[in-house]
Structures are given as structure tokens and as C-alpha cells.
């Protein structure tokens, strides 16, 4: 799987709203209307300081190159991780830090 792209601020105040944007390049082939074998992600999870704050279960109507925008209340120490899991069990992750003042 390709390298995820994440956009979030470098720093934030404790409790401040931050916008997070994520993008993973992936064809999301359902296998419904073509001879190509199914190639689909099943879940996206965003964690802050080890706790899941936002998740998404993919289904056939989810577009290729899944993109999300969501808004999180920043909390110290500001360690974020993002994981996309494929139906075959493989996953790709990214980690980001937001400096919390």
C-alpha cells in the first residue's frame, strides 16, 4: 500500500479544535463490475495518544483513494497515529505529532 498523506497543524493549545485531513492512494476494487479481483480496505482508524478518536468502516460505495476530514479536540502529548487495514489483514500506518502548548 502507498504512503498515506496526513495534514494537521504543527502546534495547538490544549483543548483547541484541530482539523485533520487524510488521504491514502488505493484503487478500492470491489470486484462487482469487472474481472479484476477484489482489492478493498476494510477500516480506517485515527488515534490520539493511543485512544481511537475516529474510525470508518469501508463498504463497496466508498470511493477510491479514501479521503477524510474530521475535527479533534487536541490533547497532550499530541501523538497521533493513523491506520488503514486491508480486507486481507495487511495494514499501513502513519504517525504524526502536534506540539501542544
Amino acid at each position: 500500500m502507498s504512503t498515506p498523506r496526513i495534514r494537521l497543524p504543527e502546534s495547538a493549545s490544549e483543548g483547541e479544535e484541530i482539523e485533520i485531513r487524510t488521504l491514502l492512494t488505493h484503487p478500492m476494487i470491489t470486484g462487482v463490475s469487472s474481472d479484476d479481483p477484489r482489492d478493498m480496505l476494510t477500516r480506517f482508524e485515527a488515534r490520539m495518544n493511543g485512544e481511537t478518536v475516529f474510525a470508518y468502516d469501508f463498504a463497496n460505495g466508498s470511493a477510491a483513494n479514501p479521503t477524510f476530514i474530521f475535527f479533534v479536540r487536541a490533547a497532550a502529548p499530541g501523538e497521533f497515529s493513523f491506520t488503514w487495514t486491508h480486507e486481507d489483514g495487511q495494514s499501513v500506518s502513519a504517525e504524526e505529532s502536534v506540539r501542544i502548548s
Binding site: 470491489t30 490520539m48 478518536v53 475516529f54 470511493a63 479533534v72
Partner: protein, 150 residues
């Protein structure tokens, strides 16, 4: 800042395209497949219409990449928040589009993603709240080129 007439007109057209009229889910004639999918989520609960704002194009050029913003009216507090948002297609080969899972760590019940619409259709949004109740809304988007749901 200066605006040319052309940029104003195209800007106005683009804004107009974003206005979608809310559709009452109760007024829709759902196929057995879609109704079964909705009933699985509801689990016997009776959803209320409204409390959900959907931003999507009225006409999408590419059905494979239809941008959708969902906003649910919720304080997103520990005791009163949205726990899940489900998107359901009414005329795709399969009704499931995807399900968001939300927590009170989010400041708003506002999410964005892109969805696939195989043809012009209504799609439903069900929002599950922390008190166990469910809100529902629907919107319709016309599709110039069907989203190849491959």
C-alpha cells in the same frame, strides 16, 4: 479583491450546485435489499427525520468520486454525542457505502469523505446518538458519468 463577471457567475453556479434539498427518508420507496440494510442498523429503533445537514453536489460529473460532508447537530459531549454515521446507497449494486465511528474527542459531528454513486439516486444517512436514538436524512445527486463501482 476584484471579481470578474465570469468568475462571479461560475462561482455562483458552483454554489448553487452545492444546494441539495433535504428529502424525507419516509417518502422514499426503498428496495428490499436497502430496507434490510437499514433495518440491520436500526435494530428495531424508530429513527427521527432531521438534525442532519448534507453537503453534496446536486449534479456530480464523476459518480466514482462524489464529495459528501455530513453535519449532525450534536454538542459532542461525553454524555451527548454521535457514536456512528452510516451512509447507504439506494441504487448501487450494494447498499453499503461506509460507516463513521465518532467519539467525544471530536469537536463536532462533521465529517467529509467521497462516495461512489453508480447512477442518479437518493442516499440515506443514519446517525446513531449516545442515548441510543437514531436520526435520518436523505439527499439526491444526479450523476453525469456513473461511478464505475469496480
Amino acid at each position: 479583491m476584484r471579481f470578474s463577471r465570469r468568475s462571479f457567475v461560475s462561482g455562483a453556479a458552483a454554489s448553487a450546485a452545492l444546494v441539495i434539498l433535504p428529502i424525507r427518508v419516509a417518502a422514499l420507496d426503498l428496495s428490499d435489499d436497502v430496507a434490510a440494510h437499514v433495518n440491520d442498523i436500526l435494530g428495531g429503533r424508530d429513527p427521527r427525520e432531521g438534525g442532519i445537514e448534507l453537503d453534496a453536489p446536486a449534479v456530480a460529473e464523476n459518480g466514482a468520486q462524489v464529495p459528501l460532508t455530513i453535519r449532525v447537530d450534536s454538542p459532542m459531549s461525553e454524555h451527548d454525542h454521535v457514536t456512528a454515521i452510516h451512509i447507504i446507497a439506494t441504487a448501487n449494486p450494494a447498499p453499503g457505502i461506509g460507516s463513521f465511528h465518532l467519539t467525544p474527542h471530536l469537536t463536532r459531528a462533521e465529517v467529509f469523505t467521497r462516495i461512489r454513486l453508480a447512477e442518479e439516486q437518493e442516499y440515506l444517512v443514519l446517525a446513531e446518538l449516545s442515548d441510543g436514538s437514531v436520526l435520518q436524512a436523505a439527499a439526491r445527486t444526479a450523476v453525469t458519468q456513473g461511478g464505475c463501482v469496480t
